[in-house]
């Protein structure tokens, strides 16, 4: 589904390279996890996949369902099913979460040539998904993320994912800052979306999340590239041993 080849990225306008020849292939239906030390470029990878400006791609390619992903605008990628759960969700003052989500969903549908969802259909969908994630209806009336606690923001990201039903979801440290109950709820949300035609890339620092979402593959990222890949056991090994072993390859 997604095939990243030898990706080199730096911050636009000069500076050091952040991604230094990263390659990664995620087949349809699989959930992959990326673990790696702080500052190694995990969020940069997520941003580049989602189309954020401000990066310079000096070489490499990203192929998504047979198409050159890097040639598309962020909104085109979104309509084609790319979703990013942000490490730091952004506050949108004055725009109720419900309004935001409806505008987003209908914009995506319009781009795909689908009819917009009517207000009642949409409300029904959101209420249903919110209930599964134990998000109170009141929260949907509040301006998106404004004054939300860390955990509430993350839960709201997963609600958006559930409503937008993406084909390829990137979860950037969605588990950070969640209490144990919230973590389970989020994991349930993720598992509910697992499907043969849907893939996910889960960025995390903790084994904890992977206890609930069993990944098909685990990758270790260090120094701007993938330095080791393995099965779920690799995550447990990392948790026990840390990244010291990979410091070498990072340098």
């Amino acid at each position: 589904m997604l095939d990243i080849k030898n990706l080199h990225v730096k911050v636009a306008g000069g500076g050091e390279e952040i991604l230094k020849g990263l390659s990664l292939c995620i087949p349809a239906g699989e959930v992959h996890a990326i673990m790696g030390p702080n500052g190694t470029g995990k969020s940069t990878l997520a941003n580049v996949l989602a189309g954020r400006e401000g990066y310079e791609i000096t070489s490499g390619s990203v192929c998504y369902e047979g198409e050159d992903l890097l040639a598309l605008s962020p909104e085109e990628r979104a309509a084609k099913g790319i979703f990013l759960s942000f490490q730091y969700p952004v506050e949108i003052p004055g725009v109720p979460a419900m309004t935001f989500l409806r505008a987003a969903l209908n914009a995506q549908r319009e781009r795909r040539g689908e009819e917009p969802l009517s207000a009642p259909e949409f409300m029904k969908l959101v209420r249903e998904k919110a209930a599964l994630l134990k998000i109170k209806p009141d929260m949907l009336k509040r301006p998106l993320n404004v004054g939300f606690s860390g955990g509430e923001k993350k839960r709201m990201e997963i609600l958006q994912m559930a409503v937008l039903a993406p084909r390829f979801a990137i979860l950037d440290e969605t588990d950070s800052g969640l209490d144990i109950d919230a973590l389970k709820i989020v994991a349930q949300g993720v598992n509910a979306l697992r499907a043969p035609d849907r893939s996910m890339l889960v960025i995390t620092h903790y084994q904890r999340l992977l206890d609930y979402i069993t990944p098909d593959r685990v990758h270790v990222m260090a120094g701007g590239r993938i330095v080791k890949s393995g099965g779920p056991e690799l995550a447990r090994q990392l948790e026990a041993e840390g990244y010291d072993a990979y410091a070498e390859s990072a340098a």
Binding site: S73, A78, F86
Partner: protein, 496 residues
């Protein structure tokens, strides 16, 4: 109620789509035979206007006195706006559709081209159509002003049953001369300022509203101003009086054709609220802003003032200013009655080469008077947006309170936002609070929205609507959705 809201949503969506199709869909002109006063300004032109309207002598004298005064005045230069000198002799001061005569008696007498114009603007003038159109939707009575004359006023009979007078200004002069004479110029005197004085000399038409004692006006009232004729200024005059315990909500909307010359709009609005009365006045101003290079567009130089004359009276201004090449207006409240309240809610958007210098004056004269100012300025393109406001608390205004919040939002790096608050306090126990913020539309917010599927323009519109929400919420429900669509259109081309 839900059904009504849904159909409003639908028609609004349709309207919004139409807006998207064309950046300024109101830019067309209507081909009707017009009658003009001779070009330029002198006593004869004023006599011509007054005679056309069959005015009494006292009103002609009033106009002429204003004109004499105007000749001695100088155009103000303190606002943060720049424009070439206006040649007051190079424009028409009166233009009227020819068939009009002494004013149409029924809609059948109105030129079909004019009816079609209002239809194109989405303003229903035929009451049957209004009733059929949106079942259960709140009724809105409309006064339509085309250049210098009012061409139609709807729902007058129904309003008259509750004693409400809603008519064109010219007609009010004939039918309610005492009321007009009593209140005209009592809030904005003919000597007030350069543009108000000019208006007093040459004002053509406008709307007159009187709500009798204890009456809650049974529907929203609105006026749609349309400037059509070339080289013609529009000088309308609106006078609204809410007698003791009365309530009225009034909305004005404005559009003009695209022309590469500048058109002058110098209106005067006077509001009077007696004891326990409340007036809610909303404006959606969308005059032609000129092109991206600043060619053409309306000069919107307007004086609006409300007088909270009675105890516990309440006047609230809400404005959404998106059009005009230059906007110069300060809707104000004179808080004369004890315990009276004034409010000013403003969204001013400038884009391209537009300039806006707008704000309010809250003059606290009575005891325990309260005022509230919420201003949201949005600058995009190469535009300049200034909030200018005065809060003045006089000696006798014991216990006066004001809250002011001025927020500016910058879209892009070439625009300017300025906040100029003036404060004068002459009583020790007044409580004033002032908050001001300036923020840039952040790249992070834009990216977040785009990641979810909105394009840059939709994202900007959503963020700006969010920024302006506190103000937009104050608009009558029927217009709030329209205003949001307008915000989007006004910002087109502001993001790469």
């Amino acid at each position: 109620m839900d059904g009504a809201k849904d159909s409003i949503d639908r028609s609004t969506l349709a309207a919004a789509r139409a807006l998207e199709a064309d950046k300024y869909k109101y830019g067309f002109t209507t081909d009707v035979e017009q009658e003009f006063a001779p070009k330029g300004l002198n006593e004869d032109v004023i006599r011509f206007i007054s005679a056309k309207k069959g005015e009494p002598q006292w009103l002609l004298d009033w106009r002429l006195a204003a004109y004499k005064r105007w000749l001695t005045m100088e155009e103000p230069a303190w606002a943060m706006v720049h424009y070439p000198k206006i040649d007051y002799q190079d424009m028409y001061y009166f233009a009227a559709p020819k068939k009009e005569g002494s004013g149409p008696k029924s809609l059948d007498e109105i030129d079909p081209d004019i009816l079609a114009t209002y239809d194109k603007l989405g303003i229903p003038l035929k009451e049957q159509e209004v009733l059929l159109g949106v079942e259960g939707a709140p009724k809105v009575a409309v006064d339509a002003v085309f250049d210098s004359v009012s061409v139609a006023t709807t729902f007058r009979e129904e309003l008259a049953r509750s004693g409400v007078i809603f008519s064109s200004f010219s007609e009010a002069v004939k039918e309610h001369p005492d009321l007009v004479r009593q209140y005209l110029g009592s809030v904005v005197p003919p000597t007030d300022n350069y543009f108000a004085t000019l208006n007093s000399a040459v004002f053509s038409d406008g709307t007159f509203v009187y709500i009798p004692k204890g009456v809650r006006c049974p529907m929203e009232l609105s006026t749609y101003f349309r400037m059509n004729a070339q080289s013609t200024g529009q000088f309308e005059r609106t006078l609204i009086i809410a007698d003791e315990g009365a309530y009225v909500s009034y909305l004005e909307g404005c559009t003009a054709p695209m022309r590469d010359e500048n058109q002058l709009h110098a209106a005067v609005v006077e509001l009077v609220a007696l004891d326990d009365a409340e007036i809610k006045y909303s404006t959606v101003q969308n005059w032609w802003p000129g092109d991206e290079n600043g060619q053409g567009g309306v000069y919107n130089f307007v004086t609006k003032r409300g007088d909270c004359r009675g105890a516990r009276s309440h006047i609230s201004w809400t404005q959404v200013e998106t059009g005009s090449a230059i906007t110069w207006k300060y809707p104000s409240c004179i808080l004369r009655g004890d315990d009276s309240q004034g409010e000013f809610y403003s969204v001013a958007i400038t884009n391209g080469a537009q300039q806006a210098d707008t704000g309010t004056k809250m003059i606290h004269l009575g005891k325990n008077t309260r005022s509230r100012i919420i201003s949201k300025g949005i600058s995009a393109g190469r535009s300049n947006n200034t909030y200018r406001g005065l809060v003045s608390v006089h000696k006798k205004a014991k216990g006066a309170r004001n809250f002011t919040q001025c927020d500016s939002l910058l879209v892009g790096g070439q625009c300017g936002a300025h906040t100029v608050p003036y404060v004068e306090v002459k009583t020790p126990d007044a409580q004033l609070e002032h908050e001001a913020t300036t923020t840039k539309l952040s790249e992070e917010q834009l990216f977040y929205c785009r990641q979810r599927g909105l394009d840059a323009e939709e994202a900007t519109a959503l963020l700006v609507n969010g920024f302006a929400r506190d103000v937009l919420q104050n608009l009558p429900m029927e217009f709030a959705v329209e205003a949001q669509a307008l915000v989007k259109v006004s910002l087109e081309g502001s993001v790469g």
